[in-house]
Amino acid sequence: DAGVTQSPTHLIKTRGQHVTLRCSPISGHKSVSWYQQVLGQGPQFIFQYYEKEERGRGNFPDRFSARQFPNYSSELNVNALLLGDSALYLCASSRQRDISGANVLTFGAGSRLTVL
């Protein structure tokens, strides 16, 4: 089975531009979460979507937005890019609960964004 797939894997943008990152969850997973991982730090939660509804939002500015499509794939959009937005953006998918009740998030390899 395919894991969580993210695209693009790497991209370079300049300040003020806009970026769209895409995520395809594992088949059968209806929840997608987005995280930002700055080099040398732990991932920071941005959004969670479940059944196309936003279920959680982290402490990020309104420049960050996301949506989930009927096929449960998701997009993360960042407007007016700043140098500080340079990071690895991770997508994770999950079922609502697995058989044991655990909340197992499976992460993709991420999209590496560099803002110049």
């Binding site: 732990g42 991932p43 009740g101």
Partner: protein, 116 residues
């Protein structure tokens, strides 16, 4: 404000030795504590997880110890191998109690290097 504090930042252990990573949390509403392993260029991968009604969980060479009263938990890697060289993240969430199971609070990470 960091809700999960992780230490040490890095550690070096000889092959066959024991690696110990510690985490502390503040929010007593957390009810799920996973550990993730991340290799360079990859997304985090779930290693082992525990719920607060259990004091210890072992899977192969990896053991989580959980101290609810002290609000601390730790990862022990027994018989460390060079292939264990990676960055390890502790995390916490309130997944069991809320709809925000996709929202993990990560520690800052521990870079583990296992020397031959």
């Amino acid at each position: 404000q960091q809700q999960v504090k992780q230490s040490p930042q890095s550690l070096i252990v000889q092959k066959g030795g024991i690696s110990i990573i510690n985490c502390a949390y503040e929010n007593t509403a957390f009810d799920y504590f996973p550990w993730y392993q991340q290799f360079p260029g990859k997304g985090p991968a779930l290693l082992i997880a525990i719920r607060p009604d259990v004091s210890e969980k072992k899977e192969g060479r990896f053991t989580i110890s959980f101290n609810k009263s002290a609000k601390q938990f730790s990862l022990h890697i027994m018989d460390s191998q060079p292939g264990d060289s990676a960055t390890y993240f502790c995390a916490a969430s309130m997944g069991w109690q809320t709809d925000s199971w996709g929202k993990l609070q990560f520690g800052a990470g521990t870079q583990v290097v296992v020397t031959p």
